[in-house]
Symmetry: C2
Subunit: 208 residues, 2 copies
């Protein structure tokens, strides 16, 4: 299949809200963040994407993008023109099915985020975020216990629906409890069990 590669530098934008949709993007290297840019109100980060994941699914609906995608590091993507995929689909039905799965995964993931934002305390949300992140990294061959966060505290806070100060304070509490070590962006998970408990402990408490 014909794909076009594109390289981006740190903080460069892959596409903006409103840009014409030309196709999906498969991330080859580098982290991205997606964010809304509503008329009123400031930006809200809607997700972080890593190599092997796909960007641009929002654009299919009305042939233009409804969010911004920004590289958090120098990055490289492959663009996948969707109509090309549709043309090939008779030949490669399995590929079509794959596209469905990718989109379904996105839907399910977003439901998890909604669950987080709607019914967890902020410390639980940060724990869930860390677990999700290391889980995805581990699936790509990285360490289960070490992460270098590619985003700043403000982005984490925006994604998790809290202020950067709160992110910082929760890290402080996790350090105090001996659950993690934190050095700026460098996170070392000392007690993964305790981290998991921070999330799953919420049973009836605070539940809607």
């Amino acid at each position: 299949m014909i794909t076009v590669r594109r390289k981006l530098k740190r903080y460069e934008t892959l596409f903006h809200n409103g840009d014409d949709f030309t196709g999906l993007y498969a991330i080859r290297s580098g982290f991205f963040k997606t964010s809304t840019a509503p008329e009123f109100g400031r930006e809200q980060v809607t997700g972080f994407q890593m190599p092997g994941e796909v960007l641009g699914l929002d654009g299919i609906l009305n042939d233009h993008h409804t969010c911004n995608a920004v590289a958090l590091q120098d990055a490289e993507v492959c663009s996948l023109p969707l109509d090309r995929i549709a043309e090939l689909s008779p030949l490669v039905k399995r590929l079509q099915r794959h596209v469905h799965k990718i989109m379904s995964r996105e839907i399910v993931q977003e439901q998890d985020v909604m669950l987080m934002l709607g019914s967890m305390r902020s410390d639980e949300r940060l724990a869930a975020f860390l677990i999700n992140l290391v889980g995805r990294l581990h699936a790509r061959g990285f360490s289960r216990s070490e992460v270098i966060l590619p985003m700043i505290r403000e982005d984490i806070g925006s994604y998790l629906g809290m202020k950067l100060e709160t992110v910082s304070r929760i890290f402080a509490r996790l350090i105090e409890r001996g659950v993690v070590e934190v050095n700026q962006r460098h996170i070392h998970i000392l007690d993964p069990v305790a981290l998991n408990q921070s999330v799953s402990q919420f049973k009836g408490v605070h539940a809607n």
Copy 2:
């Protein structure tokens, strides 16, 4: 295309979390709610669906559903076996494209909910919820100013990430301001402009 119809009574479940995925469902009549059922923690409503909308997109990913779909009223659905769609797709490429759009719409909508949950105050969330609801109903030929809510306060609260008491109090404030009339489930929107302002007023305030 071969579709199977199914009738449901109020509070009957269309599919549960964990059920095998057999295909999508198009709603012919009646409202539905979808909710997560995590191991720990109580249910969280992830969406409300009305006639003309599609249920079950979450099941495509791993061939089983990851949420519950419950009829809020007596309802009727058409099941659409997805493999059937895939088989037909060479013939009806446009249909395939339509499936993509439906999935993309779901993704975009969920991002809106994330934005709400992550960066709005609870009164703004309720206003946004009402506006979204009447908008979707209006597109189906219903009134712009009158709604009969098919769900209880607790469901609204769960969806919007707040407690039912808070929902009630916010309605009280809207009544006080002369924005709406509320009689149990019956909502009459007196001042749609003021309602819109309740949402869009949030500029820098509380923004993440």
